[in-house]
């Protein structure tokens, strides 16, 4: 059974102990920051800083390598395509027919690629260090209705299960001589039909049983729900949150008033 749907890695670190709300605030802070500053130096510095955070948060290097393996194709793609589709600018480095490569285009491409990477890693700070239950808890604490949070948590919990069912069903149909994923597009789509029907029927049964299991566990028993491990802001959180807010305001003032980092 695969657990690949969960990025969380359990480590004893300050980053893991941080309240999920603080980390959500960090993601918001990073997004606003990265979207308003376009200079490649800002994104690069930010990216470096995030790696520092991940490293001090004891996220193993293998996970970072895993993340970069997924990020570099899109990074290369942006670096290649941006200059081609952005022919403006004075300094023309290279021109064939209508394709103009300019210094400005290259810079913008670099900036865009670094921003996308930095943004992705800002999210990974949250996902690598926060288990799903705490993440959902954080969202509920921020005002998401509990039922929605529970639905979200259950959806994440059952992804591996449904994947397992999918694998077994496709094996069962192959064992009866069914060939999956060959031929033209329409035929390929059709070849998944016998599998999808069986998976959907099983998923419906699962959902039925799940709703019974929930009510057998006192769900909607009328009592006000309490929590075994409620989230409370620790000292670190109380330091981090105003820090984010203050630096965000500061950065934005510099950006808007003084036009820095454009």
């Amino acid at each position: 059974m695969s657990f690949a749907f969960d990025l969380y890695i359990d480590r004893p670190s300050w980053l893991h102990r941080l309240d999920p709300r603080t980390k959500l605030a960090f993601v918001a802070f990073s997004s606003v920051l990265l979207l308003s500053f376009s200079h490649p130096f800002v994104s690069a510095a930010f990216l470096l800083g995030i790696h520092g955070i991940l490293w001090s948060g004891k996220v193993p290097a293998s996970r970072l390598r895993w993340a970069w393996q997924r990020m570099w194709p899109i990074t290369i793609l942006i670096l290649l395509l941006w200059p081609i589709f952005y022919p403006q600018g004075e300094e023309v480095l290279w021109q064939v027919w209508r394709i103009r490569i300019t210094t400005q285009g290259l810079c913008q491409g670099l900036s865009m690629a670094l921003r996308v990477d930095a943004l992705a890693f800002a999210f990974l700070v949250l996902l690598f260090s926060t288990d799903q239950a705490r993440l959902v808890r954080g969202l509920v604490k921020l005002g998401l209705p509990y039922e929605w949070g529970l639905t979200l948590a259950i959806a994440m919990r059952y992804l591996p299960t449904l994947y397992g069912i999918y694998i077994t069903v496709s094996e069962a149909q192959q064992a009866r001589g069914w060939v999956i994923g060959e031929g033209n597009f329409v035929r390929r789509i059709k070849s998944y039909l016998p599998i999808l029907v069986a998976v959907i029927v099983m998923a419906l049964r699962l959902a039925d049983n799940l709703s019974m299991a929930l009510s057998a566990r006192g769900f909607q028993s009328g009592a006000r729900r309490t929590y075994l491990k409620d989230l409370e802001l620790s000292l670190a959180d109380k330091v981090c949150l105003p820090l984010f807010a203050a630096s965000l305001i500061l950065f934005l003032i510099f950006r808007l008033r003084h036009g820095l980092g454009a």
Partner: protein, 612 residues
């Protein structure tokens, strides 16, 4: 007045499956009372309404599913007509059959906490109850584990802990050991025993396993067609062998032996356990006789061609440890091989190599003399039929006929051939009248049968059956095994993966024991079941009848019986020999001897005398 559960004349019908259809009546007037502290076993064949009755106890029926409900269910003074399942959950702890759908949290601890959070308890009280419940089910060390990472037995125990922590008045367990391997069964049943012995819990347990019922229940009720038809102490109820068999239920294997003696020899034995049987049977006068060892081997097919050959097979998933290692196997055409071992011992991994779903990391696999390398799963499907454990993994077609025709069309048969093969398969499995029925609406036993028919229709030489009897009741098991035996006698090679040692003893001629991916033993069933040390190493045990037979060897018994019938034949042959040697004994006259002889033909026996 101390009845904690009161069920009065309950009728229930599920809402119709299709709009405008008929409601489906399941409970037809159930009356039941359970005293505080009582351990009640509810037995009955599949599809008679046992689970439905459980669901009425905490108000899931009718509150959650609708349908028509008449009568009254009161648990701990609360009437389910007035209180929904959310409130009833404080009184009734319901543990469902399927562990997968009731473990929906990310950690073991969170799983137990869920119900307590619903009740609005304080964190300190929750902490206390979680620690207690996990200790009862012996999972204290695994609090942060993901429920998906637990073994089958651990999952069931966790499911019990989740409702136990809510301190309900009544615990309802729906088939708590179904589908578990022997280790898992033992783990769960020992928790059940502790609940009974030390916590004096009120428990209602739905259970097929007669041996478990005999050991733990204070009282047994039998359910048949939506009604309770028999109740009493386990010993009273389980000695009604004929009625139970008529209802399609198993009895403990040694109880069946007692019944066989009583019926054929007019004795009045009443034993269930090994010790009881031993003292009853060893009392009979038997002198120590050197018994001629007859040929006990079943005749194997004459041509001696090899159906499946496995050479030095090793396999691992990704970079994991070896899932199977150094397996060598040579299965003759027409053989009946059983593969046994705990969950995770590599049984399914091994058999998936036979039809190419997995490819060897090292070594090779030959089917009908040809290496599976270079043959697609589709090509191998002509030679190897593979019956998956859960019929719902393969059922998808709108009608049974389509379901059976599916594989044939895949293999490229002409429409004419598809029609003849499919019709023949449906006829063979007695499904001819249901050809246009959607398979999804059938009961579990019939769905199982449809999948077997669908695999058989493709006429594979080798049939791999992965836990085919899991979830079937005794009658369903008998029918299925009868069909499998008849396929075997037509020359099909059968490879059976199972946890049920009685099935192995009765049907398999060869056995492969797997332990942690390695072959622990491989040989004829009769010899292998004598080597208890090897079986124990794989956490397995021979069926009770084999254990009893060996224990009685000093009395002159051959001691290697695999079935009740064999034991009986052995024993009576010994009685006969004993009589002839003494050459007298007026009370054991010619009359009874002749009668015995006449009864030797097991014509009146059930198709198979197993008792799962």
């Amino acid at each position: 007045m101390d009845d904690v559960v009161i069920v009065e004349n309950v009728h229930y019908a599920y809402p119709p499956l299709t709009p405008g259809g008929e409601p489906i009546p399941v409970l037809k007037g159930v009356n039941l009372r359970v005293r505080r502290g009582e351990f009640l076993a509810l037995m009955g064949p599949t599809g008679v309404g046992k689970t439905t009755l459980c669901l009425t106890l905490n108000g899931i029926l009718p509150h959650l599913m609708g349908g028509t409900f008449q009568g009254k269910v009161v648990v701990a003074g609360m009437d389910t007509r007035e209180h929904g399942p959310g409130e009833m959950s404080r009184q009734v702890g319901l543990v469902f059959q399927d562990p997968e759908s009731q473990l929906f949290n990310m950690t073991v601890e969170g799983e137990v906490a869920f119900g307590l959070e619903s009740l609005g308890l304080s964190p300190s009280e929750m902490e206390e109850r979680i620690a207690w419940a996990l200790e009862v089910v012996r999972l204290s060390g695994l609090r942060q584990r993901h429920p998906l990472q637990l073994s089958g037995g651990q999952k069931k125990r966790l499911a019990i802990a989740t409702v136990l922590a809510m301190r309900p008045q009544v615990l309802v367990l729906d088939e708590p050991v179904t589908g578990l391997d022997p280790v898992g069964r033992h783990e769960v049943l020992s928790v059940v025993e502790e609940l009974k012995r030390e916590r004096e819990a009120t428990v209602i347990m739905v259970e097929q396993d007669a041996e478990a019922v005999l050991t733990w229940a204070d009282r047994v009720v039998i359910m048949e067609e939506g009604r309770l038809v028999l109740e009493g102490s386990p010993r009273q109820v389980l000695s009604q062998v004929e009625s139970l068999h008529d209802w399609g239920l198993a009895v403990p294997q040694l109880g069946e032996l007692a019944h066989l003696f009583n019926r054929r020899q007019g004795t009045s034995f009443h034993f269930f356990t090994e010790d009881e049987a031993y003292s009853a049977l060893a009392d009979e006068p038997i002198s120590n006789i050197q018994y001629p060892v007859p040929d006990t081997q079943h005749p194997t097919s004459s041509e001696h061609s090899t159906a499946v050959q496995v050479e030095d097979l090793c396999y691992r998933y990704d970079d994991g440890p070896w899932a199977v290692a150094d397996i060598n196997l040579s299965v003759e055409a027409g053989e009946f091989l059983a593969i046994i071992g705990q969950n995770g011992s590599g049984k399914t991994t091994l058999v998936k190599h036979l039809n190419g779903l997995l490819r060897p990391t090292r070594g090779r696999v030959l089917v009908l003399g040809q290496d599976t390398a270079g043959q697609s799963v589709g090509q191998l499907a002509r030679k190897v039929g593979y019956l998956f454990q859960n019929p719902d993994h393969q059922i998808f077609a709108p009608t049974i006929w389509e379901e059976v025709a599916f594989g044939l069309r895949n293999l490229g048969f002409s429409e004419g051939e598809v029609a003849t093969h499919a019709t023949e398969a449906l006829a063979l499995f007695g499904l001819g009248d249901h050809a246009d029925t959607p398979p999804a609406v059938l009961g579990y036993g019939l769905r199982r049968k449809v999948t077997l028919a669908a695999v058989w229709a493709m006429r594979p030489q080798v049939l791999v059956l992965d836990e085919p009897t899991a979830g079937l009741d005794w009658r369903g098991t008998c029918t299925l095994m009868e069909e499998v035996t008849s396929l075997n006698s037509q020359g099909h090679t059968i490879i059976l993966v199972t946890h049920d040692m009685k099935l192995v003893a009765e049907f398999a001629r060869q056995v492969l024991v797997l332990d942690e991916g390695r072959a622990l033993a491989y040989g004829p069933t009769r010899q292998l079941f004598q080597q208890e040390a090897i079986l124990r190493q794989a956490f397995l045990a021979p069926p009770p009848i084999t254990v009893l037979a060996r224990r009685m060897r000093p009395y002159g018994l051959r001691g290697d019986s695999l079935t009740v019938e064999e034991f009986y034949q052995d024993y009576t042959a010994l009685q006969q020999l004993d009589k002839e040697q003494r050459g007298r004994s007026p009370e054991q006259s010619e009359g009874t001897g002749a009668e015995e002889q006449g009864n030797r033909v097991p014509a009146t026996l059930c198709p198979c005398d197993l008792a799962p």
